[in-house]
């Protein structure tokens, strides 16, 4: 396939997404397929690992190898796959609940560990799949869920800041309503050597219809990626949460690949001889 130029359709399966019409996740699927086609990566060499949630349904809509794992655990599954199979291109996708709530610890430690994989979070500030509860990125005073009738009452999680504090080496934000910019970021993230985090504002039309207004709020002001963590931090202190673009791209070496064998298994027992 390498000689032929790939088409986005090559990466799309014939399973029809169960997402609500208008859901932002459609654009993310499109951007991933378009980005992989642009990079001309054979589908057989790409794996997509997700957790549980509306957004985590994405792998089945692709022709890639995929793992629809359990809630919150996409990153460890993806990390294990990449460490055991460094030859594969590994992407992990999921939602804000999956990634920042139940999966928050793996997110922080994946940023630190810097395994060479790409993590795309479709953030709709809500638990879509379980009927619209507040997520870590929900505003403290959002009263749209019966579970938190007074609002969650907790300061929202700041995904980019957390990623930077945790040591991620590629950090960007996109909006599902700007799929070409999102595609650009997917390509850059996949090409980045190390852990890359793409934060996608992806509206939930069902439980957060007001997010249709995001289109007016986003602005592409992360123009050139910072290469110094400090500069990126200073920039984030002024961020309103709707700035898109690639914020930061650092240069730390990715976490260790599988070494070459230097010894035969049969010889390992020699150390026990007495």
């Amino acid at each position: 396939m390498d000689a032929v130029v790939a088409k986005p359709q090559d990466y799309k399966s014939d399973l029809k997404p169960i997402w609500c019409p208008g859901c932002g996740d459609f654009s993310v699927l499109a951007a991933i397929t378009r980005g992989l086609a642009e990079l001309n990566l054979p589908p057989k060499d790409v794996a997509l690992v997700s957790g549980i949630g509306c957004s985590s349904r994405l792998p089945a809509y692709s022709t890639l190898y995929g793992f629809h794992s359990v809630h919150g655990r996409a990153l460890p599954v993806a990390s294990g796959l990449k460490l055991a199979r460094p030859d594969l291109t590994v992407l992990s996708v999921g939602g804000d609940g999956d990634g920042f709530s139940i999966g928050g610890n793996h997110f922080v430690h994946a940023c630190r560990r810097n395994v060479d994989l790409t993590y795309i979070v479709m953030d709709n500030s809500v638990y879509g799949m379980t009927k619209g509860q507040a997520s870590p990125t929900t505003q403290a005073d959002w009263t749209g869920s019966k579970l938190t009738p007074e609002g969650p009452g907790v300061a929202p999680f700041r995904p980019l800041e957390m990623a930077l504090s945790s040591g991620a080496t590629f950090i960007s934000r996109a909006f599902s309503g700007d799929p070409m910019e999102l595609t650009r970021q997917v390509c850059a993230a996949v090409q980045h050597k190390g852990f890359s985090f793409v934060h996608v504002l992806s509206p939930c039309v069902t439980y957060r219809p007001e997010q249709k207004g995001w289109r007016e709020l986003v602005h592409g002001d992360f123009t050139e990626p910072y290469t110094d963590r400090r500069d990126a931090f200073l920039r984030l202190l002024d961020d309103d949460g709707f700035t898109t673009g690639i914020l930061y791209q650092g240069a730390a070496a990715p976490f260790q690949p599988m070494p070459r064998a230097t010894q035969s298994v049969a010889d390992l027992g020699d150390q026990f001889v007495i």
């Binding site: 399973l15 054979p42 589908p43 057989k44 060499d45 794996a47 690992v49 549980i52 792998p59 089945a60 022709t63 890639l64 190898y65 995929g66 793992f67 629809h68 794992s69 359990v70 919150g72 655990r73 460890p76 599954v77 993806a78 990390s79 294990g80 796959l81 990449k82 460490l83 055991a84 199979r85 030859d87 594969l88 610890n105 793996h106 922080v108 430690h109 260790q256 690949p257 599988m258 070494p259 070459r260 064998a261 230097t262 010894q263 035969s264 298994v265 390992l268 027992g269 026990f272 001889v273 007495i274």
Partner: protein, 573 residues
Amino acid sequence: MALSSVSIAMTGSGGAGVMTAGQILLDAAAKAGYYGLMGRTLGPQIRGGESAALLRLSTEPVQSPDDGFDILVAFDWGNIERFREELPMNPGGLIIADPHAGDVPALMLDAERRIEYVPFHAMSKDIHGGRVNMVALGLIAELVGLDHDCLVERVTTQLSGKGQTALDSSRAGLDAGAEAVVGVKGVPRLDRPKPRTGDRWSITGNDAAGLGAIQGGVRFCAAYPITPATDILEWLAPNLPKVGGTLVQCEDELASVNMILGGSYGGVPSVTATSGPGLALMTESIGLAVASETPVVIIDVQRGGPSTGIPTKSEQVDLNIAVNGLHGDAPHVVTAPLSIGDCLFTTQWSVHLAEAMQTAVIVLSDQTVGQSRTIIDKPAEIAFIGRRKVAETVPGERYLRYALTADGVSPMSLPGTDGGAYIAEGLEHDETGRPSTQGAHHTEQLAKRQRKITDFDYGDHWALVDGDPDAEVAVLTWGSTAEVAREAVNRARARGVKARLVAVRLIDPVPADRLRYALAGVSRTVVVEQNHGGQYLRHLRAHMDLPGRVEAFHRPGPLGLRPGEILAHILSQ
């Protein structure tokens, strides 16, 4: 008197060096041609706490402790009340104590014990850089008749990095100890060792499990440290890279079990090791391994429970969670090594089972076999290696990842294979792997996942069966109590009881037909295990009717079961 086996305990605290001395003694005995075993018991302190090295040296292969010790060497009696129960003495046993530590405490005394005082402390003071443990080593070796040269050689190897002065003072200590034997009488001596034929190994169960995993094909391990499993990881960490593999230390057990799911999905046989608390955290994702049919091996080195429990002590208490701890109907495999040495075989076999059946295998080792060291004959090559049924995919044709096959095992494609892309799925699914809520799909996939486990041919490895063909009593046990039970059965047979040992390696699925066959003809089945709840007996009852009168023989840790207890039970009826 000369014996085929002598048991020796050395106890001391705060830098007395009993563990090091124990290991030197064991290895020296190995050099001299003996077999042996060394366990340990520890106080709660990280360093300098009271500890005891628990040895048994023997002319024959041995993997079970004796009922008690023939010789107890005590440098001091710190907190002895905490672990005296772990230091039972054989009748007529000899306590060698240092007068520097005061009188032998009353709780260590009974009518049958003999006591000798040897001033280890004072003797070591007389040697420049002298150490009590070296003096004791010299004494013990001389007492039991262990060749002094073998001892010197092991000490030299052990202290090779410490320089000549340390070596000289150690030798002086050994010599002083050997000379102090004069006057100590009626000591059990070991028979001459049998001539060595092949190589011998000195190995712990945890190291053996690590080697077994690699021999089974494992090249990826992700794990989080926990007592008493960490040693497996510490052995794998430097050894996996030698054969092209990787070990990752994770942020927690949720990460480690999911990382090995990822590694295995990639086609690389993968393992993790943990203990009860960590296993509890892993069950959700072990269920994912079952549903998505991703092979993984989880080694649970059991410790005292429940909850944090007794981390440094052994108990066979995680059978319940290993067998039934997954939500939903989630058939998988549970195995248990039967001895320190068998950790190698059982772990390797478990990798083979996981790969062959594309399922999760939980290996129930425990602190006793995991952290004890033994001298064994070098194990024979084991043929098992994890072999997955790999799919022959055709680009353009729809690949059925979860195809309904006769044996329930569906050929699996590995990422990178053209035409083999599929989604490993935790939702219920049809043959293609697409999510489905239909009863027909659910039922057929449930049945397939059950069938592949139930109908698999486990061969003869499911258990060790030994003893009288016309036995009246069967001692049925599992995992690490096997060797203790074996010794009990042998002693019973020596007394004329017709007895048989059935030590089970395959805990789940219950090999009911084979068990019935192995127990055929007995009128009593004694089910032996080390826990409070009788977990294995309940598990067996759930799945089959046992023949004859069933007698439950179990008690909790931390004191390991002894052959004598089981023998007493066999004889009591």
